[in-house]
Amino acid sequence: MTTQPPTGMVLNIQHFCTHDGPGIRTNVFLKFCSLRCKWCSNPESIHPKSELAYNPSKCIGTKECGLCLKACPESAIFTVDPDVKVRINWDLCTNCGKCVPACPPQALSLFGHEMTVEEVLDAVEQDGTFYRESGGGITVSGGECLLQPDFTAALLAGAHERGINTAIETAGNVPWAFMEKVLPHVDTVLHDHKLTDPVRHKKWTGVDNARILANFKKAYETFPEKTFIARTPLIPGVNDDEEHIRSVLAFIRPHKNVVDYELLPYFRFGESKYGFLGRVYELADFQPPTPESLARLRAIIDEAFGRTGSQQPEPE
C-alpha cells in the first residue's frame, strides 16, 4: 500500500533571503495562521485556502474584455460607470477561482497554491550554490508553518536528504503534537515572543500565550540539540518596553540551546517580504521604532548574552 505524499498550501517561495536563519536562504511561506496580530505584514497568508487577488492596474476593462463577468458564478464581479475596469464584490466572492483562467491580462490571480514536497524542493534547490557558499538553506515560514505539520515535516526531511540546512519561523500557537512532529527535521528554530502579558497578548494577537510558552519550554527541553533563536517583532506602543524584553530573557536564558534573541523592527517586514514587488509602503497605524529605543533594548539583550556590543545589524 502506498500513501500519497503530503501536499501543502504554499503562498510564496522567496529566494535570496538573509534575515531568517544563517546564510543566504530560500523562504517558503505557507498559508494558514492561528493568530491575528494587528500588525500582520502578510495578511494574505492568514487563511488556509487560496484567495482571490485583484490588481486593477492590469485590468484592460470591459470594453475590450469583460470575460471575468461571465466566468463568475456568484455575480461577484461588476463594473461602475464611468470606469471600465471591473470591481470585485468581496462579500459575494467565494474565492472559487473560476475568474482567474478567464482573465487574459492576469489582473485576477490566486494567492496560495497546493504544491508537493518535490515541487517545493526543486524550486528551493535552484539556489544550491548560494547555500553551500553562505551556509544557508531553506526557511519554512508563514502564516504558521506548523499548522501544516505533515507537509512541513516532509519538506524539511526532504531538504535534509538533499543536504540542505533547515530552519522554521513559528509563533508556537499550535498543538504540541504538531511541533513534536516537525522539530526533529529542523536545524534552527526561529520562534516569536510577541508579548509577555497573557491579557495583552490576547488583545493584540487574538489569543493568550499560555500554550505558546508551554510549547517553547517543552521544545527547548525535548530537543536540546537544536538551535533556538527567540525573536520579537518590535511594535512601538505595543511591546517595545524593557519589561517585555527582560521577561523574554528570563524565559530563554536558562536554556543554553536558545542562542540569541533578535529584535525585528516593525518596518523590516515590508522591506524583506515585499521588496521584490516594487513599491513598499505599509499604511499601518504602527510607526517603526526609533534607532535610539532599538539600541537601548538591544543593549539589554547583549548584556544578558554576555556580549560587549550589539551583534545585530542596525536598522537602515
Partner: protein, 383 residues
C-alpha cells in the same frame, strides 16, 4: 394570503450616521400602529449571536416611551458596534486558534428561536451584500439604505448624507477661514472612496477653489495654475476639497502608494477586525497638499475630516427621511414584501429587490447639474 409578521427585529450594519435613530423611531412607531412588536438587536447581529456579551441582554425592546424622543438624537440606541456579517465571525476555537467561522445558520436559528418573523436591516453597501446573502438563505428582510457618501445606487438619497453634507460644509467654511488667516492653501479630504457627491456638493457650497472627485481623474498642474492666480488677485490662500478616492490622470504619480499585494486583497481576507485593512484616510490630502506646494510655491496643509462628519444629530432632512424609511420598511412587510431595499425615488418610496440593488455604486455622472454648477462658479475639477 401572506402571513403578516407580528414580531420583527431591527439591526444596524456598518456604523453610525446621523438619522439612525430616526429610522428606528419610524419603524417602531409604524409597528406600534399595527400592533406589532419591534425589537432592536445590539451591535449589528452580535446581540443575537453573542448574547453572553450583554449583561442587560442582546436585545432592546423598542417601547413607545423609549422611542418617544429618539428621532433627533445621536446616541447609538442599537449599540456602537455594527458588524452585521455573520458569515465571517471571528472566534477562538477550543484549541486556542483564531478563525473566522460562518455563523449565518446560527443567526437564522436564533432569529427563529426569538420568534422574529422578519428583520429590518439598516445597511451600507457592505451590509447590503450581507443581507442579500442572508435573504438567499431564507431570511425575510427589508433594507433601509444608509450612506454618508450617498453611494447606494438604487436610492436617490440615502439617509445620513444630508447631515454629513451639512457638517462638511460647516467645517469647510472654517477650514477656509483658517487658510485665509495663515495665508496657506488648505487641502481638505472628505469621505468618498468611490463616489464624489460629498466633496462635490460640499465643495460647491463653499465655493472651493478646486474639487477633486473619484469620477474625474485630476491633473494637479491645472489646479496649481488656478491657485497661482489667487495671490495676484490679492487673495493668497486657497481651499481644495478632495474625496478620499480621487486619483490622478494616467501617468501621474499615484496618490496612494500602497502595497500592491495588500491592496489587491479582499478586505475580508485581510480582516476588518485585525486592523489589517488599508485605511486610505488622509493619504490623498497629504499627497495632494505636498504636490500642490511644489507646483505653486505656496504653503499648503492637509486636513482630513474623515468620520468626524458622521457624528452628531441629524438635520431636519435626515430626521424626516429616516422616519419615512423606517415606517416604509414596516409597510413593506405589511404588504408581504421581503428581500427588498426601500428606495427614495422622488416622489415615491419604492421597494427595490436586493438583487437589483447590489453591485451598483451611485457615482457622479459627467453631466450632473452639480458638475455644471461647479464649473459655472469657476471651480476647478482638476481636468
Amino acid at each position: 394570503m401572506t402571513t403578516q409578521p407580528k414580531r420583527i427585529a431591527i439591526a444596524n450594519g456598518g456604523g453610525f450616521v446621523p438619522g439612525l435613530n430616526a429610522v428606528v423611531t419610524g419603524a417602531a412607531r409604524a409597528a406600534q400602529e399595527l400592533g406589532w412588536e419591534l425589537v432592536g438587536i445590539r451591535d449589528g447581529f452580535d446581540g443575537l449571536l453573542h448574547p453572553d456579551r450583554y449583561p442587560a441582554g442582546g436585545l432592546v425592546p423598542l417601547s413607545a416611551p423609549l422611542v418617544e424622543h429618539l428621532s433627533g438624537t445621536a446616541g447609538p440606541v442599537l449599540g456602537a458596534g455594527a458588524r452585521l456579517d455573520p458569515f465571517h465571525v471571528r472566534t477562538v476555537t477550543a484549541d486556542n486558534s483564531v478563525e473566522e467561522t460562518d455563523r449565518s445558520d446560527a443567526l437564522l436559528q436564533a432569529l427563529r428561536k426569538e420568534a422574529f418573523n422578519a428583520v429590518i436591516a439598516i445597511v451600507d453597501t457592505h451590509a447590503l451584500n450581507v443581507v442579500f446573502k442572508l435573504s438567499r438563505k431564507g431570511l425575510r428582510a427589508v433594507c433601509v439604505p444608509k450612506s454618508a457618501e450617498n453611494q447606494i445606487a438604487a436610492t436617490h438619497l440615502s439617509f445620513g448624507f444630508n447631515s454629513v453634507l451639512s457638517f462638511a460644509v460647516d467645517m469647510l467654511d472654517r477650514a477656509r477661514q483658517a487658510a485665509e488667516a495663515v495665508g496657506k492653501i488648505g487641502v481638505v479630504e472628505v469621505l468618498g472612496e468611490h463616489a464624489g457627491w460629498l466633496a462635490l456638493q460640499a465643495g460647491t457650497a463653499v465655493c472651493a477653489d478646486a474639487i477633486l472627485i473619484p469620477e474625474i481623474p485630476y491633473d494637479l498642474a491645472k489646479v496649481a495654475e488656478k491657485l497661482r492666480k489667487k495671490p495676484q488677485a490679492g487673495r493668497p490662500y486657497g481651499l481644495v476639497v478632495v474625496a478620499e478616492g480621487a486619483a490622478p490622470t494616467a501617468g501621474q504619480l499615484a496618490t496612494l502608494p500602497v502595497n500592491p499585494v495588500r491592496a489587491s486583497l479582499s478586505p475580508g481576507a485581510t480582516g476588518h477586525e485585525g486592523g489589517q485593512v488599508i485605511d486610505p484616510s488622509g493619504q490623498v490630502a497629504a499627497t495632494v497638499a505636498s504636490q500642490l506646494q511644489r507646483l505653486t510655491d505656496q504653503e499648503t496643509y492637509p486636513l482630513t475630516l474623515g468620520a468626524l462628519v458622521k457624528a452628531g444629530a441629524p438635520t431636519a432632512v435626515d430626521r424626516q427621511l429616516g422616519l419615512a424609511y423606517g415606517a416604509a420598511a414596516v409597510r413593506a412587510l405589511q404588504e408581504g414584501q421581503a428581500g427588498v431595499l426601500i428606495a427614495f425615488q422622488p416622489p415615491e418610496l419604492k421597494f427595490v429587490p436586493l438583487v437589483e440593488a447590489i453591485n451598483k455604486i451611485r457615482t457622479v455622472p459627467g453631466d450632473s447639474v452639480f458638475i455644471q454648477a461647479a464649473r459655472s462658479l469657476g471651480i476647478s475639477l482638476g481636468d
